[in-house]
């Protein structure tokens, strides 16, 4: 049913329609509206068969869903930023034990300096945690991907993080086809756990594993993620067949056919970039767009195939690996192995800075003229950083590496 709703509400409704049995959560902006709505639904009786537990921290929230999942309950939590970092030890533990938990990450920057606004620094920090990470481009996709996430997680026995841009999506009100119970029931079968804490068939879960088998455990986790490269697009196809729209999957291509320059990005900036691509195409510039939906597992082969024929790619990242540069860029570089395609990285939108069409078009203009440095910070206030660098280094040995944006 089409409704004008806030992104958080659309996600809460999708989660509720997925019939979670345990929700453990702790509040942090911009995740709050999602869990507030779910707690209301449980308390009012709208969402039946579900326990909502107000935990004392994110660490406890993740620990709670670990316990719930281990006894065979479909389990969900949501967090962002500092909250995600606060639960990290348990995040790794959940994937290590192969518990199919679904978690929304309402992407937000990590402090210091404390900042409540959007970027991908939080989820990216969990890149190697063993969770599947899917990034939503819109509120419709965010809602749809939660239903898919439960299916993917439970089929593979791997936890899934659905990442949606904080505020930009969570707090944006737009038209969404809000998922209905019957349709979700037809799509998502009840959870049947692979392993279970059961007094009738007692097992020990979470044993200590030494050098004799640790590599094998890790290898198997890796193989399950690689299996996800088949499962994620299949589930997206099933979803499209039933609901009649494309949501999720591994990658999303937009006007990449014959494009000389392909922009690669994650999350909600995809929408802005579509407008940019249209404008550039209208001006006769040969550009296309590739959205990465599945960041983990990273679809190397599909990316390689999707950029074939291009001369250059520009990776736009909402996170920074300090001292290195791009994070997604590293994966793209692997995907480009064996091609002549040149690659540029643009760090944009950190801590909620708007990524504007004007700046993107200006940046793209330089990219197609091959004037873009290997690493660019979009809309960097060079006056400020210049002054600070000079203040910190009176001997001007950094002068020639100052960004030339």
């Amino acid at each position: 049913m089409l409704q004008q709703v806030e992104g958080s509400k659309a996600v809460a409704v999708a989660v509720a329609a997925s019939r979670p049995q345990v929700i453990c959560a702790y509040p942090i902006s911009p995740q709050t509206h999602i869990v507030e709505e779910l707690s209301r639904m449980v308390k009012s009786g709208e969402l039946r068969g579900c326990e909502y537990v107000n935990m004392e921290s994110e660490f406890a929230a993740m620990s709670g869903v670990i316990g719930a999942s281990a006894v065979g309950a479909r389990s969900y939590t949501a967090t962002a930023s500092q909250g995600l970092l606060y639960m990290v030890e348990a995040v790794y533990n959940a994937s290590g034990m192969g518990l199919p938990i679904v978690m929304t990450v309402a992407n937000r920057a990590i402090g210091a300096p404390i900042n409540i606004w959007n970027d991908h620094g939080d989820a990216m920090s969990q890149r190697d945690s063993g969770w599947i990470q899917l990034y939503a481009t819109s509120n419709q996709e965010a809602a749809d991907m939660h239903v898919q996430a439960f299916k993917i997680a439970e089929e593979l026995s791997v936890p899934v993080m659905v990442c949606m841009d904080g505020f930009v999506l969570t707090h944006a009100t737009e038209r969404v086809d809000v998922l209905e119970q019957d349709a979700v029931d037809a799509f998502l079968p009840p959870y049947s756990p692979r392993q279970l804490l059961d007094p009738d068939d007692p097992v020990s879960i979470g044993s200590m594993v030494g050098p004799e088998a640790f590599t094998e455990v890790r290898y198997l986790a890796h193989m399950r993620q690689l299996e996800a490269l088949d499962v994620i697009p299949r589930v997206a196809a099933e979803f499209a067949a039933q609901f009649g729209r494309d949501s999720g999957g591994l990658l999303r291509s937009y006007r990449t056919d014959g494009a000389e320059t392909i922009v690669i990005a994650l999350g909600s900036v995809f929408g802005t970039l579509q407008d940019v691509i249209d404008a550039e195409r209208a001006d006769g510039v040969s550009v296309g767009l590739l959205g990465v939906t599945s960041f983990r597992p990273f679809p190397y082969e599909a990316t390689h195939a999707a950029v074939q024929g291009a001369r250059r790619v520009v990776v736009i990242e909402r996170a920074l690996a300090v001292g290195a540069g791009g994070i997604v860029a590293g994966d793209v570089r692997i995907a480009l192995t064996g091609t002549e395609i040149s690659q540029r990285t643009v760090i944009a939108g950190l801590g909620g800075r708007p990524i504007t069409t004007t700046s993107l078009r200006e940046m793209l203009g330089r990219a197609v003229r091959d004037e873009l440095p290997a690493l660019t910070f979009l809309d960097l206030d060079t006056g400020v950083v210049d002054r600070e660098l000079r203040r910190l280094h009176p001997v001007d040995r950094f002068a020639d590496v100052l960004p030339q944006t």
Binding site: A70, V71, P199
Partner: protein, 332 residues
């Protein structure tokens, strides 16, 4: 030091499975069909109080739950010595997640069981003193405050034994650990309040809080039984001597635990909903020194020079427990 009045106790009342008792009053351990929850073959040190305590606790809990039980375990000796992959000593459904989250995992387990219609399955969580009073304390307090349906057992051996005997918030004053060594002006652990988690648990006004030791295993079983007869958050704090960390003889584990209570060093009591409801009176009161001398971790109090100043402070702490809980029967 106050003295104890003469009392007659049935000899052998400490004994397990006392044949003089009616069958329904006998120890869970004496039953042939006991769960054997922590079975033999694990790698605990000889004389490990924690292994002894856990076996009694879980078998009693399994009896009370009629086998319908799930156990959550924090990281620590108990977890490490029992589950070196691919072996396990647990014959109960058992989950280990992390060092600091056992109470929260147990909360989730309880919620999951309710949500999946297995309301009859009971939840027991357990961890060492480090897992309980230090790193998992926020999770424990949260579990108490929400009154989640979990029985939590703390096996208190007064230190981080699994990592090599470091100080925890439950290490007693003056005790030597590898991070409070017997050097300097104040050798061993510092004096202070310590973290008295049983009393903090009482302050949460949860349905049941009790302390126990491995010296009185019938009492331990009875408390587990009582706790399992209730719902909501319940806490049991068990003193479990550790031969390795305490520098004591393996054969002395039970004796040392008994001296801990008989000296007043470790008060044994029960509380319900914020009120102390019973205390285990001292039977033959002994000076704290008798408790200390069997343990290498207090050796520096006796040689090369005797530290009466420190011993007196430890005695004063025991006397305070005796006064606070009324551990010594008034002589009429």
């Amino acid at each position: 030091m106050s003295s104890t009045g003469v009392k007659f106790y049935q000899v052998g009342s400490f004994a397990v499975g006392n044949r003089l008792l009616d069958p329904e009053l006998r120890s869970a351990q004496s039953e042939q069909g006991r769960a054997n929850s922590l079975t033999s073959g694990h790698r605990a040190c000889q004389g490990c109080g924690e292994a002894l305590g856990a076996r009694y606790v879980l078998d009693a809990a399994m009896r009370a739950a009629q086998g319908r039980m799930v156990t959550v375990n924090a990281t620590g000796c108990l977890e490490v010595f029992s589950t070196p992959y691919p072996e396990t000593s647990w014959r109960v459904a058992w989950l280990h997640s992390l060092f600091g989250n056992a109470p929260a995992v147990a909360t989730g387990v309880a919620a999951g069981l309710r949500a999946t219609g297995k309301d009859d399955v009971r939840v027991v969580a357990q961890g060492g003193d480090g897992a309980t009073v230090d790193i998992g304390f926020a999770c424990l307090s949260g579990m108490f405050e929400r009154n989640d349906d979990v029985l939590y057992i703390c096996y208190d051996n007064g230190g981080y034994m699994n990592t090599g005997v470091q100080r925890s918030g439950a290490t007693p004053p003056a005790a030597r650990t590898t991070t409070t060594q017997a050097v300097g002006d104040e050798p061993g652990n510092v004096f202070g309040q310590g973290k008295d988690v049983p009393r903090i648990a009482v302050a949460h006004e949860i349905p049941y809080v009790a302390t126990a030791t491995v010296a009185d295993l019938r009492d331990l079983e009875a408390k587990v039984d009582k706790a399992m007869g209730m719902h909501g958050a319940r806490y049991l704090h068990v003193l479990v001597p550790c031969p390795l960390g305490w520098g004591s003889a393996s054969k002395d584990t039970v004796k040392i635990a008994r001296l801990a209570t008989e000296s007043g060093h470790f008060p044994v009591f029960e509380a319900e909903r914020g009120e102390v409801t019973s205390v285990r009176k001292i039977r033959h009161q002994v000076p704290v020194e008798e408790y200390l001398t069997l343990q290498g971790r207090y050796k520096h109090l006796f040689s090369p020079v005797r530290r009466d100043d420190v011993i007196d402070r430890l005695q004063a702490m025991a006397d305070r427990n005796i006064a606070r809980y009324g551990l010594v029967e008034e002589v009429l």
